[in-house]
């Protein structure tokens, strides 16, 4: 038994949901993904609750410190160890079965460990007082320490945690994907549904891993320099260039923006792979693979530089030309979305759909992603961003993009769950989950966008002015429905029943 299976088997409550089916001989592609998926849901359980704490602190006028602590933990935990890790687990399992290669060795172990240990260390730092939000707002950590708002120790601990999380996303996970897809021998007994690397279902995985690696490397250099200085291994004077706010911020967003796009590429590719399996006429074909691939390429090419839209209001420190560029490229990603809309709907129109919960969750998540995309290109327009930057619109967009991708992965997981665990899910609970998550997520998204339109600031512990508390109450209500939908989803996993037929056969059917 692998270490991964051992950890899953010994985890209370969540372990039961992800115990890998050993009878299939597929443990080598299932064990590490199962552990990653399980860990991601542990983080969701904790950080989802923190989401509800935020509006609660505001409605009951509790200390603003609590708000900023929960804000930081909520954003960081749901972006990295929940959403990214869920994607990593489901994506690895899926592509392992497509190319017939084992997910074993030190790279999956390192990916899992650096993500979870890093996130845990970051959590400790936040509890020590470091409240810098998920995007760090550099040089806030250092300035806060100088002002005595939090300790220098908490900054060092926090950077260590962030560094480990980044190493997972920028190095270990992309290297693992490349190793798996381009090296090693294919083993016939691990092939579940064979795919070539040119199919949209695989192309997205490769493009995404390349994006993470390439756009992340500058941040690795800057981060390593800073960390060495914080640990006093090199003198601060040698790290001064990296601690320059403009340098740090641009390197950070070059990666952070592309992290979101890479996750989008990956989930779009999973959707293109899953949808054909649910076509009513059994044709298993997209309307056009070429068009699907074109959408992925457009998303890739436009996204690399569209991150400039984060700094439009920094004019003239960000030159106007770069802001126009960011504006145009962002709307270019919209063209990619328009193409994907056409591909998906034309595919369904051509072949009919078997509306099972897995694929419906993927499609609803995708619709949420389109809503998010619309809000994202709107706020990338120079004029609109001057009125929306820093408002709840931005939080709404950020949370919705993460939520949409997570819902799509939860749908893909629903599809793969029987192969992973040898157990079946209850479709009635699946449909209930979809209904609740649809109401909760679209509701929360629209309310947060509306709050932003009304001028409600993001990351701001005083909603009780200008009538903004209305949005606060609505966020709490939709958040409760959203939280309940996750409970239903996890309850379904917990209640899943053994499938009697040998899973190895079913998996290959």
């Amino acid at each position: 038994m692998s270490i991964a299976s051992a950890i899953v088997n010994n985890t209370p409550i969540f372990g039961k949901m992800f115990t890998v089916d050993k009878s299939t001989g597929l443990e080598e592609i299932n064990a590490w993904p199962a552990l990653m998926i399980m860990s991601s849901f542990v983080w969701l359980a904790v950080a989802g609750l923190l989401g509800l704490v935020m509006p609660t602190t505001q409605i009951f006028d509790l200390s603003s410190d609590h708000f900023y602590t929960t804000l930081t933990l909520h954003g960081a935990a749901l972006t990295f160890p929940f959403s990214f890790q869920l994607m990593m687990g489901v994506g690895l399992h899926r592509s392992g079965g497509c190319v017939g290669k084992a997910i074993t060795g030190w790279l999956p172990a390192l990916s899992w460990l650096s993500m979870n240990l890093g996130a845990a260390i970051l959590t400790v730092a936040v509890l020590m007082g470091l409240k810098v939000s998920v995007v760090v707002m550099f040089p806030l950590p250092l300035v806060g320490a100088q002002m005595g708002i939090w300790s220098m120790e908490s900054v060092i601990v926090g950077f260590t945690g962030i560094y480990l999380v980044l190493s997972c996303m920028i190095l270990w996970y992309p290297l693992l994907v490349f190793k798996m897809l381009f090296f090693g021998k294919k083993r016939a007994e691990l092939v579940l549904s064979e795919r070539s690397l040119n199919e949209p279902g695989m192309l997205g995985m490769i493009l995404a891993a390349a994006t993470l690696l390439l756009t992340g490397l500058p941040l690795v250099v800057v981060g390593t320099t800073l960390l060495l200085a914080l640990y006093k291994i090199i003198p601060m004077s040698l790290a001064a260039w990296a601690a320059e706010p403009v340098v740090f911020q641009y390197t950070f967003y070059l990666f952070a923006h592309n992290l979101m796009e890479a996750m989008a590429l990956m989930v779009a590719s999973a959707m293109y792979a899953t949808l054909p399996l649910y076509l009513a006429d059994g044709s298993r074909k997209l309307y056009s693979e070429k068009l699907a691939n074109l959408a992925l390429w457009i998303l890739l090419v436009t996204s690399v530089t569209s991150g400039l839209h984060h700094f439009i209001t920094f004019y003239p420190n960000q030159p106007a030309a770069l802001s126009y560029w960011g504006n145009i490229m962002s709307w270019g990603t919209g063209l990619g979305a328009a193409i994907s809309i056409f591909t998906v709907l034309a595919t369904i129109w051509q072949h009919g759909l078997k509306a099972e919960p897995g694929i419906i969750a993927v499609l609803v998540g995708w619709a949420l992603y389109i809503l998010d995309g619309a809000s994202a290109i709107v706020t990338s327009n120079i004029v609109w961003t001057y009125q929306l930057h820093g408002t709840m619109w931005q939080s709404g967009h950020f949370m919705t993009v993460i939520l949409a991708m997570s819902m799509m992965w939860m749908g893909v997981l629903y599809h793969h769950y029987p192969v992973l665990t040898g157990r079946k899910l209850d479709p009635a609970l699946g449909r209930l989950y979809i209904k609740m998550m649809t109401i909760g997520s679209f509701g929360a998204a629209i309310v947060m966008l509306a709050g932003g339109a009304a001028g409600m600031p993001r990351r701001f512990a005083a909603w009780n002015q200008e009538g903004w508390m209305l949005y606060g109450h609505l966020i709490l209500i939709f958040g409760l429905i959203l939280g309940a939908s996750f409970v239903v989803y996890l309850y379904n996993l917990m209640k899943s029943r053994e499938i009697s037929a040998p899973m190895g056969e079913l998996a290959r059917a």
Binding site: S64, D65, Y68, M137, F138, P139, V143, G144, M147, E244, P245, V246, Q249, A280, D281, Y287, S288, T313, F314, P316, N317, I328, L335, A338, I339, I341, F342, L345, A346, I348, W349, Q350, H351, G352, L353, L363, A367, I370, L371, V378, N381, I382, W384, Y386, Q387, L388, H389, G390, T391, W393, L449, A450, A453, A454, G455, P457, R459, F460, A461, E466
Partner: protein, 186 residues
């Protein structure tokens, strides 16, 4: 009309303008093809092609028009001295945790004002709110920049205009507020 489009609520409307038709179409297609008429369609792939062209052309034109029409509202281009021929009033400020140092808090309506700001510690924002609660514009300042962050804005109505920091800057970020007074021009 255009004045409304390029505000916060205009942004909301534009988002819904893109999303709602998509949502209705997606709902219709998915419902119909999974419940009502699940068989494959008799339409040939070639019959989709014109639809594909129309859809993508429409999206492209919409994207171009929305962005082109927004140009004249960019706060670098509008109301600048070069455009209106009027001299600019200067308001300079420094942001620090958690307050502003503002050169001049009283402004005449109708005169183009150039706001120029710097930060002396961490990232800060400078968002000016209309008395009715809308954001008029926001600015982002980082420490150590060669130039100040800058926009030009012309106030139309007299009143009290709140200033708030919209870049998270630590535990008293929400208290980082100020106020400008716009008076009738004489």
């Amino acid at each position: 009309m255009l004045d409304y489009v390029y505000t916060g609520w205009g942004a909301f409307s534009a988002t819904m303008f893109m999303f709602v038709p998509f949502a209705l179409m997606a709902y219709y297609v998915i419902r119909r093809k999974s419940l009502v008429d699940t068989g494959p369609t008799s339409l040939q792939p070639s019959e989709f092609a014109p639809l594909e062209g129309i859809w993508l052309t429409f999206a492209f034109i919409f994207f171009v028009v929305v962005n082109l029409a927004s140009l004249k509202f960019i706060p670098w281009a509008t109301a600048s001295a070069a455009v209106t021929g009027e001299p600019e009033v200067h308001v300079d400020f420094t942001a620090k945790s958690w307050s502003y140092d503002i050169s001049n808090r009283q402004i005449e309506a109708g005169k183009p004002v150039r706001f120029s700001g710097r930060s002396s510690d961490t990232q800060h924002g400078f968002a000016v709110y209309h008395p009715d609660g809308r954001v008029l514009f926001t600015m982002l300042m980082m420490p150590n920049t060669a130039k100040p962050t800058s926009v030009v804005y012309t106030f139309k109505e007299p009143g009290k205009y709140k200033v708030r920091c919209l870049e998270y800057c630590g535990i008293a970020h929400h208290a980082m507020q100020d106020e400008l007074t716009v008076v009738k021009s004489n």
